[in-house]
Structure formats: structure tokens, C-alpha cells
């Protein structure tokens, strides 16, 4: 599996072959608070880099989930739809959101590595 990359919209992404797994970061869940609803893209649909690909809602507000890369949705994590609290428990592990068959692997190049993201997250929340 590839190195974990991060977007400015607080998504994380890993790559295995040409299939990317995408979720939201620990930092994002801390900002959102308790997540009580999740909506994911439809399996088989195509999503575009930086476009919306789902929604999460906390007790306070709804937030869009963006996809950091383009591709076809090949799998979604139904477990987080059925029990959204899982997202707060393990956002960067078992609570992934969806998997994409990527069109253009080079889209990963513009994303941040862990160190860059941690710095970005720290700056954007202060």
C-alpha cells in the first residue's frame, strides 16, 4: 500500500494498485464533533477530483465530503452509514468512506504527506 496522502479538505487517501481508499481525518472528526449521519456516493458512479462525494452530519451541522481524486466508485463502507459513530472511533482505519478506481494516478502528486498535513491542520485550526 502507498504512503497516506491528505487533502486540504481533510480527507486521507491510500492507493493499492489503481484503487484508492478515501476517508476523513482524525482532525476533521475532532472539528466536527459527534457524527450522527453519513451519506456516501453510489457504487458505480463517477466522481471528479475536488467534487462532493458524500455528506457527514454532526449534532451541530452538515458538512460535504469531497473526493481528492477522480474515479469510479467501486466500493462503499456501509458500516459507517449504519453506525456513523464508528467514524469518530476510527476515522483513519476501519471507518473509511469509499474506494475509487483511479483514472489518473498523478492526481496524488498535489496532495500533502503526513507531516505537511499535520502542519496544515494545526495552522488552519488556530
Amino acid at each position: 500500500m502507498s504512503e497516506v496522502k491528505f487533502s486540504k479538505e481533510h480527507e486521507w487517501i491510500t492507493l493499492e494498485g489503481d484503487v484508492a481508499t478515501i476517508g476523513i481525518t482524525q482532525h476533521a472528526t475532532e472539528m466536527l464533533g459527534d457524527i450522527v449521519f453519513a451519506e456516501l456516493p453510489e457504487k458505480g458512479s463517477n466522481v471528479e477530483k475536488d467534487g462532493t462525494a458524500g455528506v457527514v452530519e454532526s449534532t451541530k451541522a452538515a458538512s460535504d465530503v469531497y473526493t481528492p481524486v477522480s474515479g469510479e466508485v467501486v466500493d462503499i463502507n456501509q458500516a459507517i452509514v449504519d453506525d456513523p459513530a464508528k467514524i469518530n472511533e476510527d476515522p483513519e482505519g476501519t471507518a473509511w468512506f469509499f474506494k475509487l478506481k483511479m483514472k489518473d494516478i498523478s492526481e496524488l502528486d498535489s496532495l500533502m504527506n503526513k507531516e505537511e498535513y499535520d502542519k496544515f491542520a494545526k495552522e488552519s485550526s488556530s
Partner: protein
């Protein structure tokens, strides 16, 4: 304008509160445990809420004041016992609601608890109607601390002997470290509990002593989910100048004695609406599945005609599902009526349901 802080602000900071601005005050929205845990803790133990931003208006006077206040509030104040509280409204001539409030009869006048965002305007409206005949004091030296939940009585009674004898919607003065506190058995969570009016200088130490006995600080986030589960209105959402108490389904708060003769601001409209029926009415709404329908969500009937709008919507932690309140045309207000809610461009099924969502456990008295 500089943001205002309550006398518990430092305690909130020390307790890792996340702050929001609310009605010009820096208030805790949640602490480190988060909204759901705080909500559940209040339902199972006891939560402490800093509501010092709310207005505490003391008006001093005797029988004349009672008569004058009856020209404003739709209450039978002449027959209200000392230390008893009533829920009421400040209205305009059209019965539009300036504010909802709790009024308590004191030995030497009345104490009125007002919403933070409305208190200055309320003060102005009331002093105009009462034409400055009475001494009025919108307190800025008193904090207001609520303790709510099944353990509230046990915890508070250890601090202040005798509060357990208060019944729901009554209050009294109590001594605490040589100072006088006014405590009412009331609240905004659907739980048994108390609201404590205390001098600013004592508030932090008093609150810390409640924490030591097992209560925990709870933020405005959980206060909102608790009140919504309890089916209680929030001013600016369910209530405003374009809504009347009849439309808000709060007829119960209007004294029957006052409906025959009227004589209070807005009485013509209210008497007429009770007779004719209101066009729209406040209802409870339960979306199917887990979808949350927030404020301003459009409501449709089964044939997709618009019939109303959501005024508050969230996830109810004790219900473990989404809940909402809103206004619909009267003919669609019956329990179990199927409706549709438009969220993010799609219409989702929901049902009109009974309020409250969560069953209350108040300690009833003779009041």
C-alpha cells in the same frame, strides 16, 4: 462590540470548553466529552449549565403591579401563589411573540427569566408599558446556573439543605455562604432539575462544589438536543414575532380565566384564533431512517404540495435517531400523518409525531 463573558468563563476554559458566540456572549458549545456524551450524562446523572447570559429581571411592587402585569401576560397572576412560577410570553397586539419567559411571584414583586438575545428589548418594552411606575432591575451581578438530571436533587440538596422540598415550577430563597440564592425547580431538558440565581462572585466556587459532588459541565450543544427531545421551543426558531402562542401549540400556557375577558396585549387575536383555529401549527416530526432535517427544511404532503417548514432539527441521542419540530398547515398536523422533507434536493419520508420525543420526569407538586 466586545464579546461578553459570564462569571463562569474561566471555569469553562479550564474545563476545555469549545466556545461559540451566542447573543453577544462567549458561551461553551461543548466540552471534551462531546455533545452526545454530555446529553446522556444529563439524562442519567446530572448536568450543570451556565445560563448566566439569560436575563434576570426583578420588578418590585404589590397589587398594582400584579394588575398591570395582567395587562401584559395571559396569566391569572392574582391567584398565583408566592414562589410559584409560570411559563408565559411577551407579545405584541397581533399576539406575535417578542419573547418566551418564566415569571415567578416573589414576596415583593416578580422575577422574570428572559432569553439572552431578547432581554434588553424586553426591558424596554416592559418599562414602556409599565410607564416606569415600578422599580425594574435587569440584574448584571447575578449568574444563573442550572443543574438538571435524575441526580440533580441529591447533589444540590447536599450543598443547600431543603431544595428537595421544592416542587416543579416553584422556587424560594436559600442561604449559601451568607448570601441569598433564589432557586427554582425548573429547567429546559425534560429532566428534573433546578435553576440557581447566584451572585457572580460566588458562582464559580458554587459550581465547582457541584462538580465535586458528581455533576458535570454541559455545553449549549447538548442543551439544544435535550430541549428538542423534550419538545420545548427555542426562541428565534419555534417562536418569533410571526408566530402566536396558539400557532406554537402553547395554548396550555394561557390561563383559562383570562380567555373569557381578555384584556392583555394580543388577547383579541388569541381569543379569535382559539375560536377559529390557526392556519399553521407547531408539530413534532420524525424523519424515517437516519436523515437529519435541519431548520428551514421545506415540508411537503404526500402529493408533494408545500405545507410548512422545519424550525429545529437534530439527532436525538436518547432517541437514537433524528428528530425535528416545525410548522405545518393544520390539516396535516395529526399524529402519524405522512409527510416529505426536502433535504439536499431530494424528498425523504417522515411522520408527524407526538411531543415530547422523550418522556419527562418532573417532580409534580400542588401547583
Amino acid at each position: 462590540m466586545e464579546i461578553k463573558k459570564t462569571s463562569l468563563n474561566k471555569l469553562h476554559q479550564d474545563s476545555q470548553a469549545k466556545f461559540v458566540e451566542f447573543a453577544g456572549y462567549e458561551m461553551p458549545i461543548q466540552y471534551s466529552k462531546g455533545v452526545i456524551e454530555e446529553h446522556k450524562f444529563t439524562r442519567s446523572h446530572a448536568g450543570i449549565f451556565d445560563v448566566s447570559h439569560m436575563g434576570q429581571l426583578f420588578i418590585y411592587g404589590k397589587e398594582n403591579l400584579t394588575s398591570d402585569l395582567e395587562k401584559i401576560f395571559p396569566l391569572d397572576l392574582k391567584n398565583l401563589q408566592q414562589n410559584c412560577s409560570k411559563y408565559s410570553f411577551l407579545m405584541n397586539e397581533e399576539a406575535g411573540i417578542y419573547d418566551d419567559l418564566i415569571i415567578t411571584k416573589l414576596e415583593d414583586g416578580y422575577l422574570i427569566i428572559l432569553n439572552a438575545a431578547c432581554k434588553e428589548k424586553d426591558f424596554e418594552i416592559l418599562s414602556n408599558i409599565l410607564s416606569k411606575k415600578y422599580k425594574m432591575e435587569l440584574s448584571n451581578n447575578r449568574a444563573l446556573v442550572a443543574i438538571q438530571g435524575p441526580k440533580a436533587v441529591e447533589i444540590l440538596d447536599k450543598n443547600i439543605n431543603g431544595v428537595k422540598n421544592l416542587t416543579f415550577m416553584t422556587g424560594d430563597w436559600f442561604d449559601y455562604n451568607g448570601q441569598k440564592l433564589f432557586i427554582t425547580r425548573s429547567g429546559y431538558t425534560g429532566e428534573d432539575g433546578f435553576e440557581v440565581s447566584i451572585l457572580n462572585d460566588l458562582a464559580e466556587e458554587f459550581t465547582k462544589s457541584l462538580i465535586k459532588k458528581g455533576a458535570e459541565l454541559i455545553g449549549l450543544g447538548a442543551r439544544d438536543t435535550l430541549r428538542l427531545e423534550a419538545g420545548l421551543c427555542l426562541y428565534g426558531h419555534e417562536l418569533d414575532l410571526n408566530k402566536t402562542p396558539v400557532e406554537a401549540n402553547l395554548k396550555w400556557a394561557i390561563s383559562k380565566e383570562r380567555l373569557s375577558n381578555g384584556g392583555f396585549v394580543g388577547s383579541d387575536k388569541i381569543i379569535n384564533q382559539i375560536k377559529e383555529g390557526a392556519k399553521q401549527i407547531r408539530v413534532g416530526i420524525k424523519p424515517e431512517g437516519r436523515l437529519i432535517a435541519r431548520e428551514k427544511t421545506k415540508i411537503f404532503n404526500e402529493t408533494e404540495l408545500p405545507i410548512g417548514e422545519i424550525t429545529s432539527g437534530t439527532f436525538g441521542p436518547s432517541i437514537n435517531g433524528p428528530i425535528a419540530m416545525g410548522y405545518v398547515d393544520k390539516e396535516f398536523s395529526k399524529i402519524d400523518t405522512k409527510i416529505l422533507l426536502e433535504v439536499r434536493g431530494k424528498k425523504h419520508p417522515a411522520n408527524i409525531c407526538k411531543l415530547p420525543f422523550y418522556k419527562k420526569s418532573y417532580v409534580k407538586g400542588a401547583n
